[in-house]
């Protein structure tokens, strides 16, 4: 049998009050808030964040990587390989992109389950300004590692599936806006099949059910026929596409007791269901998860104008500075370990660390004899910093820091996910994988730093 070894969720630090939408556009409603990916985040970088939250030993042992999203950063070119590189998975571990419908959520879960690998589900979800998808959507990622049932927090018991061809929510590849039919139609069209699948399950007061659907009416209807089971409510900060399944499953695991069974149900172009039984190991995981939750940065308010601008719906005047240069393919390829994995070079002879790697050692002058040393999980210390108001950034001002790694190596980075007032000399920072910019149709991925929460 196969089970879940670990599960993590990543939600961006940005949070937008929905009341901003109604006050700008004059629309009604708008209570609560939604999570918003920073300007330098996309589904690839959020997937990296989610995997980096997992137990690193478990990640190293994983035998495959399945990345699901409905908003891939690239088409044709794999995004999973970027995640694979940034999380320094072994080269022989296969990685695949799964998309581009919401059903990719279960596609990746089933594939990762069958191969005892990692499923990472990452999405940005929005729509036309003032519309439901913008208001009810969210940006997030989640990761699950599957492995032997002996080490699992929940053992997978069975999967059920029903594919239904229905035009409910869709988008043309060339468009940025989704369309949907009347929510009531969508919910009711799939209602009967959902009911019959749920009736075939042995639901009791030991059951926890998590429904995931882009259609708000579907989750409402579904909660009807579940008897004494506990139903996981919709996420406070919105529906995050394929990631919603992982976020809801995490919530279920947070309240589960050993012996409970959890049903995770996706309602989208049919019904997908997985049933799992919670083991004794859940208690330890809950403690670990609690600790992870205390290590998150406090949420940060995002202005609606910034959200619109970051999503490409509002163009702003930029400073009179040259456009960023797109990274070139050959140097990105030969420096891939540095660019994606933040892997420095340590001299075999004298131990000097070079970040980025160099061909000739600064310490002893030897040429070519180095071993890799990953810096991505190290803490850095801010040596000095500046706030640059001349440089262009979608979220001004640009904060630049010089960081020492405590091993002799020093490098410069952009700061992200924080206000300039949070940065000071001596501050401890962690590394985060981000999209520096996009130029000439090429995403420039590299690492930035942000303050370490609750240090």
């Amino acid at each position: 049998m196969t089970g879940i070894l670990d599960i993590s969720q990543y939600t961006p630090r940005g949070l937008m009050q929905l009341s901003q939408i109604s006050s700008l556009l004059g629309t009604s409603g708008g209570k609560g808030s939604r999570s918003v990916a920073n300007f330098d985040e996309d589904t690839t970088t959020m997937a990296v964040e989610a995997i980096r939250l997992l137990d690193s030993e478990v990640v190293i042992g994983a035998s495959s990587l399945w990345m699901a999203t409905t908003s891939p950063a690239y088409m044709l070119k794999s995004n999973a390989t970027a995640v694979h590189a940034a999380t320094q998975m072994r080269s022989e571990v296969p990685s695949f992109d799964v998309g581009v419908s919401l059903r990719a959520a279960f596609g990746s879960l089933r594939a990762a389950h069958d191969s005892r690998g990692i499923a990472v589900l990452s999405d940005t979800w929005s729509g036309l300004p003032g519309g439901d998808d913008e208001r009810l959507g969210a940006d997030a990622a989640g990761a699950i590692v599957f492995g032997s049932d002996e080490n699992s927090i929940a053992i997978i018991k069975h999967w059920k599936s029903s594919s239904v061809e229905v035009l409910e929510r869709w988008k043309l590849p060339t468009e940025i806006d989704s369309q949907s039919w009347d929510d009531r139609f969508g919910a009711e069209a799939l209602g009967a099949i959902l009911t019959s699948i749920l009736e075939s399950e042995n639901i009791s007061d030991k059951s926890i059910i998590a429904f995931s659907s882009a259609n708000p009416r579907s989750t409402l209807l579904a909660a009807g026929p579940v008897g004494g089971a506990r139903v996981i409510p919709n996420m406070e900060h919105g529906f995050s596409g394929v990631a919603d399944t992982v976020l809801k499953l995490t919530t279920a695991l947070e309240i589960a007791q050993p012996g409970d069974n959890i049903l995770l149900v996706l309602i989208s172009d049919g019904i997908e269901l997985v049933m799992m039984e919670v083991t004794e190991r859940i208690t330890n995981w809950q403690k670990l998860n609690e600790k992870r939750n205390t290590q998150r940065l406090a949420k940060r308010e995002v202005q609606y104008a910034d959200f619109l601008s970051w999503r490409g719906r509002l163009s702003k005047q930029v400073p009179r500075r040259p456009e960023p240069q797109a990274p070139a393919s050959p140097p990105s390829f030969r420096n891939s370990d540095w660019k994606f994995g933040l892997v420095a070079a340590k001299c075999h002879d004298c131990g000097a660390v070079h970040a980025p790697p160099e061909h000739r050692c600064r310490g002893c002058g030897q040429v070519g004899n180095f071993e890799p040393l990953s810096l991505s999980r190290l803490r850095g210390t801010v040596v000095t910093f500046t706030i640059d108001k001349l440089a262009y950034t979608p979220a001004p001002p640009l904060v630049l820091v010089v960081v020492d790694f405590g091993n002799g190596a020093r490098a410069s980075f952009e700061v992200t996910d924080s206000d300039s007032s949070e940065i000071s000399i001596g501050l401890k920072v962690e590394l985060v994988f981000r999209r520096i910019n996009t130029a000439a149709g090429v995403h420039n991925y590299f690492w930035k730093v942000r303050p370490i929460p609750n240090l």
């Binding site: 400073p319 009179r320 500075r321 040259p322 960023p324 240069q325 797109a326 990274p327 070139a328 050959p330 140097p331 990105s332 030969r334 420096n335 540095w338 660019k339 070079h354 970040a355 980025p356 600064r362 040596v383 000095t384 910093f385 500046t386 706030i387 640059d388 108001k389 001349l390 440089a391 640009l398 630049l400 010089v402 020492d404 790694f405 002799g408 190596a409 020093r410 490098a411 410069s412 980075f413 952009e414 000399i425 520096i436 420039n444 991925y445 590299f446």
Partner: protein, 395 residues
Amino acid sequence: MSSNGFKDRVAIVAMGCTKFKDHWDKSADDLVVDAVEECITQTNGRIELKDVDAYWVGTQGSGMAGVTVSRPLHVSAPVTRIENYCATGSDSLRNAAYAVGSGAYDMVMAVGVEKLKDSPYSGLTAAWPPADGTRVDWTAPASFSLLAPAYAKKFGLDNETMREVLTHIAWKSHQNGALNSRAQFRKGVSKETINRSPQIAGQLGVFDCSGVSDGSAAAIVVRAEDAYKYTDTPMFVKALSLVSGTGAGLRVSDYDFTSFPEVEASAVEAYRQAGVSNPRSEISFAEVHDCFTPTELVLMEDLGFSERGMAWRDVLDGVFDLGGALPINPDGGLKSFGHPIGASGLRMLFECWLQFSGNAGERQLENPNLGLTHNLGGQPGECVSFVSIVGNNLG
């Protein structure tokens, strides 16, 4: 570092320098022609363009190859194009001087030119080779702004004092520039205006930064023994030094952003060549690379004009003012001239030329005999530094 020195082997016998400003009506070619024309004209027929055996032209991005000067001047001659960050203009002179000193040529010309205002950008830009996208894109003000907090912290200056020091440097340079008809900015600026200027990077406001302008300058170099054939007031080269750094400051954990090791090394080398043992008292005046106000502050220590940690005091005491013990940037510096990269190093030498020939007008210093020029490119932690020492007498 060892070098064989270069004292009194060559001399500059003519110089030209355009106004530095927004030359909307002039191209880089036009500016080169104007600077060279002034240079030749002042020799009163003693030198013609055809007498020049070879050329070195410094430009960061306003031309490629030697044709940058051979085409506008209509000369067919050996021309070498030099690029060495913001020390480009100085390095063209350095290489030209070596060519005469080696005996390869009798008379050469160094030309520097930059046409920046045909681009719409704020600040300086550069075309970098294709790369992997992992290098942080420091703008110049951002990278040099790191000096101010580091210096203040190390030497215990509070924010107010540091501001006062930086403001004094900008104020002094604009006072000097107001006396210079070739400067881009020709008005004194009040300390209140400097203090209140909009922030650019870190603690740096607009008035802590040098401007962007167009300009060109040129110098004719001959063997020292031939110098008096062409002018009564030759300027003898006492020292030329250039240090290109290892970049360790941005890569290794032992650099503290309160000095430029490259500048210190290039200064030590230049003083050795020129036989200067006490720069503060022996140097009459200096033209230094004041790209940003904290740069000038730190340079005072790296060039040995102030003790470590004491330059801020000397600045406030007026030591470096036009009437002070050691005038710095009497022509107004990059602050008043802007920074047309290829031309700046030669513009600094042009002020030395004027001072030694008694043609510096209201800025004229009393009996100067040794001048120093300093030109810096790159950023704190990874830079190129040039120092020259020139004088009006042999020996």
